[in-house]
Symmetry: C2
């Protein structure tokens, strides 16, 4: 297998997932800022033009971060970052979707449409008039999560999972991109600090960090 | 196990998934229009207030449609609607995310913010100024998909999967909700007609169809 990776929250999510599982893969770095992922050679690997992409041993190319992590978990089951039973996997998938759909995606779309507009307007369809509303939508969902979070635990209780990694990589990048963690969300901040203290957090950063962003 | 279900594309997605797999589950109908899913009794099952919810045999409640379908596939592996190998599952998960994130979610959000605004503005955070942009974003992604679709196949080639069911349930409801399938997208329309011809398409409809919507 071979991982095509780059700067960004989703590529970092997969790198952090690999480090937590102690999987070593050959990695190819794609120059996102130069638009290498929008060139014909890369579009053959993934027609959405998004990173990361995992080249499988059968020669096929797998994209979409959650699908890549599920595949890696099936190939390398321990330590489990999704789950070791159907019920554990169900819980982790539920929380991954809750944080990704309600918090992470509105946040990154708002970034594309405002702070990152100059770079992204030629790459993705942008809706600038939606930016402030999307930020507010994400803040409300993060506040909802803050009230649900039990003290000192992960999103799936005692288990550190892909859902924690996902939310962390988005919050860590976008807090320097116009969307800081609101000061009154103490549970989220405490959870964030505990994820940030894991060695995989620093070790998963891309060699280059453009515009002061962490990805 | 017991399924809490209602009108809507995601509840129908799970019902269609069950019918295709010939799984019979006890079902409890939630009155979405009356807001039963936003009442305290239901919020104990799912704090997002969304349907469907699957009650597991261990007494826990599982929400998020994709997580529910993954769990059902693990419990009832055949016929496979996600996949019977890690590679097949990876492909179906990749396509599910591509259609859901790039097409289905912008479509349904646009519906919440415009045609469905009167009903949804008190239930979800709405961004009315984003509605037209979201529709255009979804149309562009649907056109992208149209150009990639091989004639006479499903999203995962010869395999009919959860990704087909997901896209179908969203397009079928929202085509009567202000977002018809664009006339020039012949591959998408041909694919849609083939899904609609499956017995599970009609059989999965909720007993009541409000406002002429199919869900």
């Amino acid at each position: 297998m071979k991982l095509y990776t780059s700067f960004g929250m989703n590529p970092r999510l997969v790198r952090m997932f690999l480090i937590e599982k102690k999987i070593e893969l050959k990695q190819v770095q794609i120059d996102l800022l130069a638009g290498e992922n929008r060139q014909p050679a890369f579009l053959k690997l993934n027609p959405t033009g998004q990173t990361p992409v995992l080249e499988l041993d059968n020669g096929k190319y797998l994209s979409e971060t959650a699908a890549i992590c599920e595949y890696l978990e099936e190939r390398y089951p321990t330590p489990a970052l999704i789950g070791s039973t159907a019920e554990e996997r169900a819980e982790a998938r539920m929380w991954l979707r809750r944080v990704e759909l309600n918090i992470c995606l509105p946040m990154v779309h708002a970034f594309y449409y405002k702070e990152g507009y100059e770079l992204f307007s030629s790459r993705v369809y942008c809706i600038p008039e939606a930016a402030e509303g999307l930020k507010e939508k994400a803040r409300r969902a993060l506040s909802w999560l803050n009230d649900l979070m039990p003290e000192g635990q992960w999103l799936c209780g005692q288990r550190f999972t892909i859902s924690d990694i996902c939310l962390f990589t988005y919050l860590d990048l976008l807090r320097n991109g116009g969307q800081p963690i609101p000061e009154n969300l103490h549970n989220v901040q405490s959870w964030f600090d505990r994820v940030a203290a894991r060695p995989s957090a620093e070790a998963s950063l891309f060699p280059e960090q453009p515009m002061g962003l962490r990805g």
